[in-house]
């Protein structure tokens, strides 16, 4: 999914990172380190860049959910102040994580950059840039995954056949969960044998996928990482996109859009009312 970020973008990001690292840590935007990707010996991995590090090693590809690392660092080091080089989806992930106490907004500075139009298209991303946009200009957004509409038009029987074929490919590697920035529960329902039987793959009844989809309903920020990580190429986000759409129409909630909007499934009807009678 390489979008060929221009050298200019990368240079600007490195410059901003250098500036943040040069500031005294106590100052508003000063940081102990900046979380970003580092290319080293032909490989790319997340890294915490600190004062004195070689910033020419900082890269922005491939796309990787860095907020998971930010969250781990914030929990492990309760004083640490971090910066993070973030795409639109990273920022959306941050918003959903922060409101669930996984990241401390007071200790994080976002160095946001815009994705390329090609990346936006590949990700079916409708907002391929962060609100705190420091580098680059908003590109043309991608389009809703055509599978969503195609799928919506299918009959129940066709849908069943479609997903059965998809879920049959699942090897239950938990890769979708592991890569997901929004999967941070300490006890995972998908590891509880009351809900997901060990030693059994998804069909005939896909507990694993249904539970995950349901848990994603108020959290999925459409970063597409699960789909990219899936070794079986299951179009998971088609399912999550449908639920995202429902969240918006039923509860007016779009995950990742608003830091102040509370997770609607956890609060009362007074706080987040249902928009329709929902058939009852």
């Amino acid at each position: 999914m390489s979008g060929n970020a221009s050298e200019g973008t990368l240079e600007e990001i490195r410059k901003l990172v250098a500036e943040r690292l040069a500031l005294p840590v106590q100052a508003g935007m000063g940081v102990d380190g900046v979380v970003a990707l580092r290319a080293l010996n032909g490989n790319v991995a997340p890294h915490v860049f600190q004062k004195g590090d070689d910033l020419s090693e900082l890269v922005i590809e491939p796309k990787y959910p860095l907020m998971t690392l930010v969250s781990k660092l914030h929990k492990r080091f309760p004083q640490i102040r971090l910066g993070v080089v973030a795409r639109g989806c990273d920022e959306r992930a941050y918003i959903e994580m922060a409101k669930r106490n996984q990241i401390d907004p007071a200790r994080l500075t976002i160095i946001g950059f815009a994705c390329t139009a090609e990346e936006a298209q590949a990700c079916h991303c409708l907002e391929p840039y962060p609100k705190q946009l420091l580098v680059g200009a908003p590109p043309a957004p991608g389009q809703v995954n055509p599978l969503v509409a195609e799928y919506d038009a299918m009959t129940l029987v066709e849908r069943r056949a479609f997903w059965r074929k998809q879920f049959e490919k699942c090897i239950k590697c938990y890769g979708c969960r592991n890569i997901c920035p929004e999967c941070f529960c300490e006890a995972c329902a998908m590891e509880d044998k009351a809900w997901v039987e060990p030693g059994l793959l998804a069909p005939p009844f896909p507990m694993f996928h249904l539970i995950r989809a349901m848990h994603m309903a108020s959290r999925c920020v459409a970063c597409r990482e699960c789909e990219a990580a899936c070794p079986a190429h299951i179009p998971l986000t088609v399912l999550y996109d449908l639920l995202r759409r429902d969240m918006e129409s039923l509860l007016g909630y779009l995950p990742g859009a608003d830091m102040d909007a509370k997770p609607p499934l956890s609060v009362t009807l007074e706080e987040t009312p249902l928009r329709t009678e929902a058939g009852h």
């Binding site: 129940l156 069943r160 997903w163 009351a194 005939p204 009844f205 996928h209 009852h280």
Partner: protein, 139 residues
């Protein structure tokens, strides 16, 4: 086959309203079908998506989630979570090809024993029409 299909229904009932209604219905000798397996929970808000899914996984042909009317929840607003969660779960079932009509949310207060019978009988009839879930997913 010859043998008529008897739907198996799992009904989650809240302790404070629906279970009391079911109890009254029983004590009052109201005529009821035997297809409903009740599971008492303290609040309909306790019924997680996992519980509903497991009921289907375990062979239920239909799942009823029942609790106090909005405004009457013993815990003030436990059922507020239920009313938001269930439509999403119904939709999700539909997206993966399971008829969403197999899951229903109904409010039945402690004083509504006749309504309890009405609601469960109507649901049983509906599921009888739909046929066994295994026809849909388990084959």
């Amino acid at each position: 086959m010859g043998v008529e299909f008897e739907p198996r229904i799992i009904a989650f009932m809240c302790n404070w309203c629906t279970y009391a209604a079911a109890d009254t219905a029983g004590v009052s000798r109201m005529q009821q079908s035997l297809n409903v397996l009740p599971i008492r929970v303290m609040c309909s808000g306790r019924v997680s998506p996992e519980m509903v899914l497991r009921a289907f996984r375990a062979g239920a042909d239909g799942v009823l989630v029942m609790g106090c009317h909005i405004g009457d929840c013993h815990y003030s607003n436990g059922n507020h979570r239920t009313i938001k969660r269930m439509p999403l779960l119904r939709n999700l079932l539909g997206y993966t090809g399971i008829n969403p009509e197999r899951l229903e949310l109904q409010w039945v207060s402690g004083a509504e024993a006749p309504r309890f019978v009405e609601v469960t009988e109507a649901f049983i009839a509906k599921i009888r029409q739909l046929g066994p879930l295994s026809q849909e997913v388990m084959e």
